[in-house]
Subunit: 252 residues, 2 copies
Amino acid sequence: VKLLTLARDLRRRKSREKNQLFVAEGVRAVEELLRSRLPIRGALTAPQLMEAPRGAALASTLRDRGVAVEDIAAAEFGSAAETESPQGVIAIAEVPERSFAEIGSDWTGIVLVLDAVQDPGNVGTILRTAAALGAVATVALPGTVDLWNAKVVRSGMGAHFTHLAFSTTWNELDAFRANAGMRLFAADAGGEDIATAKPAARSALVVGNEGAGLSSDARSRADRVVALPLADGVESLNVAVATGILLHSLRS
Amino acid sequence: VKLLTLARDLRRRKSREKNQLFVAEGVRAVEELLRSRLPIRGALTAPQLMEAPRGAALASTLRDRGVAVEDIAAAEFGSAAETESPQGVIAIAEVPERSFAEIGSDWTGIVLVLDAVQDPGNVGTILRTAAALGAVATVALPGTVDLWNAKVVRSGMGAHFTHLAFSTTWNELDAFRANAGMRLFAADAGGEDIATAKPAARSALVVGNEGAGLSSDARSRADRVVALPLADGVESLNVAVATGILLHSLRS
């Protein structure tokens, strides 16, 4: 029951950070994990996996790949699962070591910066979007939900395993930016229309908290504060949708 | 307890369609409802509303506006609520009568068409996005989740109450289109880059099911099948994010 204890423990951010491990839950997330190169520490399965679509195939793949699998009762499984109707599969894998160094010096494109974005579903969808639209990296500043939170991983639909996503600080970001000569765009309802923003070879796009919006840290650093013009009487867009539109606009 | 029985009954689509009523749950949704002109049939409140942010103010506003309010016990309230941690307020309001006729004959812009989009959260976010980006209307074809489902309403963040959103059929849409001379764009991963799509004064944008994609009904009618170019190895974007980017691209 060692894997079960570990999986339960990894529901806490502190434990994920200490162990540098995370949990991928559900058929799709574990399939994507197997497709990536991240080392898998082990997996837990429960009987209902055999009834899930592609579940039986996934169970064989896990064994074929030599992953340590513990098959446990549904009730025990439920104590580690974070979904309401668990599909019966959880994998524990290593959080990849990533930093700005991996971007290298020869790049063009957009680095997405999450400044206290808090909803796990939003952050997962944002990572999926950044990966799909070819962002160079996505970095999370303090105050942002842990990128390796199980719900973020699930909403990311596999983006975590291939897209260069990692936590950072303003200090690290400032140092990277000074070196890379990156133009910093910050999203805020009061900003100028993104359509008028001059694209740069290297850009950073900062998106802020769902409720509070852009932080003063981001505002004071921005070369340009940009917005999507919204219809009268509409306050805001969902942060993942807004991020998608802004990324696409800055790219083209 | 009549309102409570009605609220419970309105969890079923059939009941919403028969009664032409829907339920708005939670402080924010009811606030937005009060700001709109939709007639409110009544409201249910539970003790926890007094502890929710802006809850006490909302309770007074309901009474000041002459809405019939029944204050019930938390357990009873829970039997009608559809959220996991109910904030203690539900309002029952009339589904507005809407059709293509309300678009009139003097318009330009984009009509968004949902063709079997099934996730309530996605559809709510899409309505919020369509309203924010100034789409002329959003119409839902059969197979799409009911626009007046409580979760769709909640995710819509008030968009339902002001944005021209309604259910339709291909027959009605075909008739409107023939009359309006609307160019039909359909979104599909295999389509041409949206950046190369010629904007039209009047457009329809069709988005399809999260898993199955574009229906043959949509494909056979499309003037142009459009896509967002995605990075290698990435299968798809979230449908709400994709819709936001496509709407924004077609608009500009």
